[in-house]
């Protein structure tokens, strides 16, 4: 028996999910000496992405996976929390639905590369550790993609993969990722 949402997904759930995935509502909060930006739509994007993730895992037959690829690409360039969620989805899809990923692989290159080159700036201690985990997560996503059949046929991805693996600042992380497997 299908999940109770399966027959309703296409008409009643997905349109809102796509809409929310694009939603950003930033406002500035004045905290005296400095202002802080709050994005009121962030919790909604997170929830929407986790619904996508569950659909992919459990009822992917009811989902237009190709149409989800732009959403995923966008999430890869969103704020940290969402990026980590997106990396996770991407890695699971490498095992289950690799062909869709490979078809859209060019769109993942820029956001992933941007994250890998985040500058530590003044960060230290736990903040620095967090940044390193974030960068590691992007590298893990790239490595998973590179193992999908046909991934390296994309010129753009292949170049990205070569310059990243050749970059000495990633050597230690990449070898620790090898050990994870």
């Amino acid at each position: 028996m299908p999940h109770i949402l399966a027959p309703l997904l296409k008409d009643l759930v997905l349109p809102s999910l796509y809409e929310v995935a694009d939603l950003k509502l930033e406002r500035k909060v004045d905290l005296g000496p400095f202002t802080h930006k709050v994005d009121d739509a962030l919790p909604l994007r997170k929830a929407s992405l986790s619904i996508f993730a569950t659909c992919l895992e459990k009822i992917s037959g009811n989902l237009d996976i190709a149409a989800f690829m732009p959403v995923l690409a966008k999430a890869l360039g969103d704020v940290e929390d969402i990026q980590l969620q997106a990396h996770h989805i991407l890695i699971s899809m490498c095992h289950r639905q690799p062909t869709y990923l490979v078809a859209a692989i060019d769109s993942f290159v820029e956001p992933l590369e941007k994250t890998m080159h985040k500058k530590p700036g003044q960060k230290n201690g736990s903040e620095l550790e967090r940044l390193n985990d974030w960068i590691k997560s992007a590298l893990r996503a790239m490595m998973a993609l590179s193992r999908c059949e046909g991934a390296l046929n994309s010129r753009k991805f292949q170049d990205f993969y070569s310059r990243t693996t050749a970059n000495s600042k990633f050597t230690a992380i990449l070898s620790s990722l090898e050990n994870e497997r």
């Binding site: 109770i4 309703l8 739509a41």
Partner: protein
């Protein structure tokens, strides 16, 4: 670990039933771990039920003297326990008191009332714990001893004004539990006071109501709640549009629990509420501060979505929900951010809790 505990409990209870001579052995070997477990911060659900059933049996079979066991529990109360452990300890004391002789019980009831009727908020932390525990225990005892209901009701109302948050919440919890079996005395008090314009008190009364609903469901499968639904529901509906999110969340907890017990009636009710409050104008996700109607509607829809989320997490059966799902999913289209977020979380909940259920198996 929980399974072991439950099996161990069953084995020991059977042993005590069949062979009362084993009592000294049980006392020697099992009581220590049981006492340690009673204040564990991890004790809940099945393990807690098991422990309570076990305590009931050792008192009924007279394997352990009631006064000895009570003294052991009271000694525990002197330790600085966390909130969860204190509430569990109260359940333990209540269950052994309920299982002992009427004479023993009366003594504890008298003692508890004497302490509580002073309505004091002690400054000393140890004394404060003693009063908190007495309040918590009084709820369960109140549900057994109908003749003290009036006194308790006054005590709880007085404690709502205590400067101590612990005592206020303990009083709300106790009021809810005392209402089980005594609903004719307590429920009118709860719902009538809900009409007062006192935010803090409303929150406490609603949390009492939640405790009553949950507890009554556990004890009697919700039949009692079903009869009081016409009394409770209009008040809950009234508070669905409370501006304070904490209060609305408490309303949602009540509505969510009721939905699990009375899915048919309640799902229809939620649909009705949603339909009556569907006009929300929020261009770009934000309400116009002048637009009071849209604001009220958004608050109600938030509560409807959150109630459903909680009902689904509380194991509302998917086949019961299925016919109503298309209607509730309309909430996903609301532009207003908080409603939409609540609707998304409701959808997450549907996925999370009903993944492995099917209309065939019916769970």
């Amino acid at each position: 670990m929980l399974v072991f505990l439950d099996n161990g409990r069953r084995a020991t209870i059977s042993l005590l039933k069949e062979c009362p001579d084993c009592a000294p052995v049980v006392k020697m070997h099992i009581l220590g771990p049981v006492l340690a477990l009673s204040v564990s911060s991890l004790l809940q659900d099945l393990a807690l039920d098991s422990l309570l059933a076990f305590l009931e049996q050792i008192i009924r079979s007279e394997a352990v003297e009631y006064s000895d066991l009570l003294a052991m529990f009271r000694k525990r109360e002197e330790e600085a326990l966390g909130k969860h452990a204190t509430y569990n300890l109260a359940r333990c004391i209540a269950v052994i008191t309920a299982s002992t002789s009427a004479e023993n019980r009366q003594a504890v009831v008298d003692e508890t009332l004497a302490l509580l009727e002073k309505v004091e908020t002690p400054e000393d932390a140890k004394e404060l714990r003693r009063v908190t525990l007495a309040l918590l225990v009084s709820g369960d005892l109140g549900s057994l001893e109908a003749d003290v209901a009036d006194k308790l009701q006054n005590i709880y109302t007085e404690y709502f004004l205590s400067p101590s948050e612990d005592l206020k919440h303990a009083a709300a919890y106790a009021l809810g539990r005392a209402s089980v079996g005594n609903q004719s005395v307590f429920l009118p008090v709860i719902v009538n006071s809900l009409g007062e314009k006192n935010q803090k008190k409303q929150y406490l009364l609603l949390s009492a109501l939640r405790e009553y609903i949950k507890c009554s469901f556990r004890e009697s499968g919700g039949d009692e709640v079903a009869t009081s639904l016409p009394l409770i529901l209009p008040h809950l509906e009234q508070h669905c549009k409370e501006a304070e999110e904490g209060t609305r969340a408490m309303v949602a907890e009540c509505l969510g629990s009721l939905t699990c017990m009375q899915p048919d009636t309640m799902l229809k009710k939620l649909v009705e509420m949603q339909d009556a409050h569907s006009k929300i104008s929020a261009p770009g996700g934000v309400l116009d501060p002048e637009d009071a109607k849209s604001k009220e509607n958004a608050l109600v829809c938030w509560t409807v979505a959150t109630s459903l989320k909680l009902a689904i997490a509380g194991k509302l059966k998917p086949p019961e929900l299925a016919p109503y799902m298309p209607g509730f999913l309309k909430l996903l289209q609301e532009e207003e951010l908080s409603v939409r977020n609540a609707a998304l979380l409701m959808t997450v909940s549907v996925f999370f809790y009903s993944l492995f259920s099917s209309p065939c198996s019916g769970n």
